[in-house]
């Protein structure tokens, strides 16, 4: 496969983790501008695990996802009382706090004669695992795709067992959901943990592909993009946020000639889509219609 195409698809895959993470919280009724923080925890955590501690790669990924889940839950627990703008800004604050803290976070150890590890604002390079194992870009893409597919399957299973519907109820109307017997706080924290895990997993994959990460990469803009993908692609299904990523990055690539104007085109497109379909392209009513048709 053409190396350029592999690179683009890898990007789409990695951003999809971030977009799914934000989407899960959205259907749970919370806007988070801060999923990039858990992406960062996954990237830094996973990177440190392989580059500094010499852990095996799968364990490093698990560690990154676990960090994302743990921190996500920890943040969500006090923040669960908040809603709307308050929650959104609180998550933004935490994410920026993370980024600002990473700017001063130094953790370097001697590994095989080289000083390895995060160096504050100078970034964290030499995440050499892909070089050491000689893994081909195509194979890594397959790994990304495989894990993304696993996440989507897990979400589909959750849907099958009515877990997603319960989360949606909590998202649409927490008081009414409480009246049906749902434990709202548990759902909010649980969703945040799951979302954090997904973002953390993506972050770990990202760090090992890029081999270099720095705090500036985990910015507010990244976070707001993550939420926007779900809102554009559609809140009705997990494929929605992925569609959003496809539209953005796909547009970038197909408009190569107009690359300089990509954001202008994308921005205008999104604004128009949202006028016609305020809950995104693959919104709940479309999904309901498809389900009804499939049942026939």
């Amino acid at each position: 496969m053409d190396p350029f195409l592999i690179s683009v698809l890898s990007n789409i895959g990695l951003f999809s983790f971030l977009a799914l993470s934000a989407w899960l919280l959205l259907i749970g009724g919370e806007i988070s501008f801060g999923q990039q923080a858990y992406f960062a925890f996954g990237a830094y955590g996973g990177g440190i695990a392989t580059a500094v501690w010499g852990w095996p790669f799968p364990l490093a990924l698990l560690w990154g996802a676990g960090l994302g889940a743990g921190v996500g839950a920890l943040v969500a627990w006090p923040a669960a009382r908040l809603s709307g703008v308050h929650y959104a800004i609180a998550t933004l604050a935490f994410a920026e706090l993370t980024r600002a803290s990473l700017n001063v976070f130094r953790y370097q150890r001697d590994v095989d004669g080289y000083l390895t590890g995060p160096d504050g604002a100078n970034g964290f390079g030499d995440i050499r695992w892909v070089y050491e194992t000689g893994i081909a870009p195509g194979t890594y893409l397959a790994l990304i795709a495989g894990l993304l597919f696993a996440v989507i399957t897990a979400i589909a299973l959750a849907s099958r067992f009515n877990l997603l519907a319960q989360l949606r109820m909590v998202g649409e109307d927490p008081i009414l959901a409480g009246m049906q017997g749902l434990r709202v706080l548990r759902w909010k924290v649980g969703a945040a943990a799951a979302a954090g895990a997904i973002a953390g997993l993506g972050g770990g994959l990202y760090a090992h592909l890029a081999t270099y990460v720095e705090p500036a990469q985990f910015s507010v803009m990244t976070g707001v993009h993550a939420v926007a993908y779900g809102l554009i692609g559609g809140l009705g299904t997990a494929l929605g946020p992925i569609l959003g990523v496809l539209i953005d990055i796909g547009l970038l690539e197909s408009l190569r000639a107009l690359a300089a104007y990509r954001m202008i085109v994308f921005g205008g497109l999104v604004a128009l889509i949202l006028i016609l379909r305020p809950r995104g392209i693959l919104d709940e009513s479309l999904v309901a219609k498809v389900r009804a048709w499939a049942r026939r």
Binding site: I31, V85, I89, V224, R279
Partner: protein, 295 residues
């Protein structure tokens, strides 16, 4: 001790500008119950138009200021029409996402039109610096405080002592009741956007002139400052926006002085996070109105 007071003085001047930005956000959120996250970028369009006018015709600060107002108004009108008026009532999320999309547009548009990391903006008129009792008040800061003060007083009169202000407050309090009371809600919403743009433009001119230059990063910067100040002070409260802005300015100045730039960021965001968790009503103690739930 003197440092503490000096920093407070410096911080209040910066905070005055933040307060204006926060007020702009608050006006829109209070009346529309939706967050316009493209507010910062719309002011950015204004200041860049001002810089351009100055570059073309040596228009000076006054000319640049007028152009800034016009640019901010046009950009705000664009956002209001496309992201707010066009999207139906209960879809607050869609408005927010749409305003983000337009932010992307405006930012890239400005970056294309003004390549180069920074662009020059005419400076503030040279006022003498003031020195009393070992405290130092820069001429620029005096200017900012004076202008901000005038704007705040004028705004207060408008909101609390004019018919339009009454309509705004009615709409902010209870949209259905306002509609029934013959308030032209669409017109008031649009004009509120314009008012927010005006207040924001003042902040933009002051900040740009004090710096002497602007960059496309201004959009994000102004958005963050305005949002942080608004949330510290208390969402939906104008008094809160003012208080939040001043507090932010002072905290930043103190943190920067004693601990440096990196620590300053950590403290500001840490403060914001803790504030939101412990005091969701903000420093001004405004009750979290049901409005926040709609988003």
């Amino acid at each position: 001790m003197l440092d503490l007071v000096q920093n407070t003085v410096d911080g209040i001047a910066a905070g005055a500008a933040y307060a204006l930005l926060a007020i702009g956000f608050t006006l829109i959120f209070g009346v529309m119950r939706r967050l316009n996250i493209a507010f910062g970028p719309s002011i950015m369009v204004g200041v860049f138009l001002g810089a351009w006018v100055h570059a073309q015709w040596s228009a000076g600060l006054v000319g640049a200021a007028v152009a800034t107002f016009i640019g901010a108004l046009i950009a705000s009108a664009y956002i209001e029409r496309l992201s707010f008026a066009a999207i139906r009532g209960d879809a607050a999320l869609a408005s927010m996402a749409s305003s983000f999309a337009l932010w992307m547009q405006l930012e890239q548009g400005v970056a294309l039109a003004f390549p180069g990391r920074t662009t020059a903006f005419p400076g503030l008129p040279a006022l003498p610096d003031l020195e009393t009792a070992g405290l130092f008040l820069r001429g620029d800061d005096i200017m900012i405080l004076a202008v901000a003060g005038i704007v705040l007083i004028a705004l207060h009169r408008l909101i609390y002592h004019s018919h339009f202000g009454l309509e705004m407050r009615a709409l902010a309090d209870n949209p259905e009741a306002a509609r029934v009371a013959q308030v032209n809600t669409k017109r008031v919403a649009f004009l509120t956007f314009c008012l927010a743009a005006t207040v924001g433009a003042v902040a933009g001119v002051l900040i740009a002139a004090a710096d002497g230059q602007i960059s496309p990063k201004f959009g994000l910067w102004a958005t963050l400052k305005g949002l942080i100040a608004m949330m510290i002070g208390g969402l939906g409260s104008l008094r809160g926006a003012l208080l939040g802005g001043l507090v932010l300015g002072v905290v930043e100045a103190q943190a920067q002085w004693y601990l440096g730039a990196a620590a300053r960021e950590i403290i500001v965001y840490g403060l914001l996070f803790v504030c939101l968790i412990l005091l969701p009503a903000g420093l001004a103690g405004v009750r979290d109105t049901g409005a926040a739930r709609k988003l």
